[in-house]
């Protein structure tokens, strides 16, 4: 009896759709994205001709911004671009226009082209990142993915392709969905293969360390060194190294702890910039050596002034470290823009 009652109660407990969606979006750039099958042409020729006529007739009505978007559509999905239905519903906030340009429903997948255009400034650029602040409300269980596919300099318009994959067998055509965006990052800088001006032979053993509560971590040896129960030993942050060549990320420590090389960075207000990166060593043959594990911790969480520290740990004996050079890859953003963009539109099938 208890078992049945407990099961009945528990069966009502499940993660919110948006929470699960956020996790799936985070995972989408991993191996799942490699499994997405190419879109196939499945509609009859009659539908293709009819829609081409429809689009051709609609084209003169569309603004000048639309044509490059259709060019992008053809570049991204040439075999199915003809099937997209014009939507052209928009929302404006903070001088920036969000427009749902077109959508295409096939099988249990909806593909939607969305543009964002800065009408007053230069906040939108070719690095615009919706920063996981977008949400897609729809009345069916699904997974979704949103990617930047192009940027048009003349009109300052970024184009995104949203793909929604409905999980069940229901027909998603005829439903309405709402696409909304709260904020985005732009003017991002990418540093690939950046040599860090640190003389590794002069690195000393840390005089003082601290035990921290880790937010998580990774790396090939993460589990061997940092079991879930254990709190890692970290460097005590020092003043940022002046010669560190990345604006938005500070190098706050580099020293040996327990025979392992620790390198520590700090990012201020990480929720406003998503600045991040990683280090690696290069040996004399030019071979890259990844860190054995990394972990992160914060000075505080939900108040202003949050700093996220990332510590990268290399298992390289101190006597050999002079044979290596230190490199890193980093991404920083220069601007965060907030607004309230929201467009509700129907999912219409071309059939």
């Amino acid at each position: 009896m208890f078992k049945e009652r407990y099961s009945h109660m528990n069966n009502q407990i499940h993660p919110r759709d948006q929470l699960l969606q956020d996790i799936l979006d985070s995972a989408h750039d991993g191996d799942c994205s490699k499994r997405i099958e190419p879109l196939r042409l499945k509609r009859p020729v009659v539908a293709l001709v009819a829609l081409c006529i429809c689009l051709t007739m609609a084209m003169p009505v569309l603004a000048a911004t639309v044509e490059p978007i259709y060019q992008l559509m053809y570049m991204v999905s040439p075999s199915v671009a003809q099937f997209f239905m014009p939507v052209q519903k928009s929302s404006e906030s903070n001088g920036i226009k969000l427009e749902v340009v077109s959508s295409y429903i096939h099988d249990n997948i909806a593909e939607i082209y969305v543009t964002m255009q800065d009408l007053t400034g230069d906040r939108i650029d070719g690095t615009t990142d919706l920063f996981d602040s977008y949400s897609i409300n729809r009345p069916f269980d699904s997974s979704a993915h949103c990617q930047l596919i192009g940027y048009e300099q003349n009109t300052k318009t970024a184009t995104f392709l949203i793909t929604i994959d409905e999980w069940g067998s229901q027909n998603i055509a005829g439903d309405k969905i709402t696409f909304s965006v709260r904020e985005f990052l732009s003017h991002k800088n990418k540093y690939d293969g950046l040599e860090i001006p640190v003389e590794l032979s002069s690195i000393l053993t840390a005089e003082r360390t601290q035990t921290v509560s880790s937010n998580g971590g990774g790396g090939k040896d993460y589990q061997s060194y940092l079991d879930f129960e254990r709190n890692p030993i970290a460097l005590i942050p020092s003043d940022p190294m002046e010669a560190f060549p990345v604006d938005g990320i500070d190098l706050t420590g580099i020293a040996y702890i327990g025979g392992k090389l620790h390198i520590q960075t700090a990012v201020k207000e990480p929720l406003d910039n998503d600045n991040h990166g990683s280090f690696y060593l290069k040996d004399a043959t030019g071979t890259d050596i990844s860190c054995n594990y990394s972990f992160s911790f914060s000075n505080q969480y939900e108040q202003p002034g949050r700093i996220d520290y990332h510590e990268y740990v290399f298992d390289i004996p101190q006597e050999y470290v002079s044979k290596y050079l230190l490199y890193g890859d980093f991404v920083t953003s220069g601007m965060k823009t907030k607004g309230d963009w929201r467009v509700t539109f129907p999912l219409e099938s071309t059939e």
Partner: protein, 162 residues
């Protein structure tokens, strides 16, 4: 839960969808609030996405998710300031009064008992399996289960078949 429906090399998204309810329900069982369950849920799957660990079989993967969920719950629960900021109304709306009563009474159990109750009665795990995944002695798990049953009977004052 039918473990054979996944393969150990399945894509991350499929694994997340498959284990999402299990992780969330276990997190909720231990913490009792949506707020904490949400945080644990994210932390568990972020770890999975980031590490993408390799497993010998599906049972191994399930055990990993249970272990990480419990450990993340402990970590969260250990943070005193977090407990202070949890809004009291931040919980689930259950269908029946019986569900609400059961939820309220379960919340009076220590978290370590709730997780054992959940794994035993909802995930249908044996005490040996629970002991292995939680890295506790089998006798400890059996004792916790027995004490939880006694507390449930005392609290509910009903003849629950436990």
């Amino acid at each position: 839960m039918k473990l054979q429906s996944l393969r150990t090399d399945d894509c991350v998204g499929d694994v997340i969808k498959f284990y999402s309810n299990m992780v969330y329900r276990l997190a909720f069982a231990r913490t009792g609030t949506r707020h904490d369950a949400d945080e644990i849920f994210q932390e568990v799957f972020f770890r999975y996405i980031k590490k993408q660990p390799v497993f010998e079989n599906e049972a191994h993967r399930k055990a990993w998710f249970i272990k990480v969920t419990v450990n993340c719950s402990k970590k969260l629960w250990g943070s005193a300031w977090k407990r202070k900021i949890i809004p009291l109304e931040e919980t689930l709306q259950f269908e029946t009064k019986e569900d609400i009563d059961l939820y309220n009474e379960l919340q009076q159990l220590p978290a370590k008992y709730r997780e054992v109750i959940h794994l035993f009665y909802y995930e249908d795990m044996t005490t040996e399996e629970i002991a292995k995944v939680l890295e506790r002695k089998n006798t400890t798990v059996r004792t916790q289960l027995t004490r939880a049953r006694v507390l449930l009977k005392n609290i509910l004052k009903e003849d629950y078949d436990v």
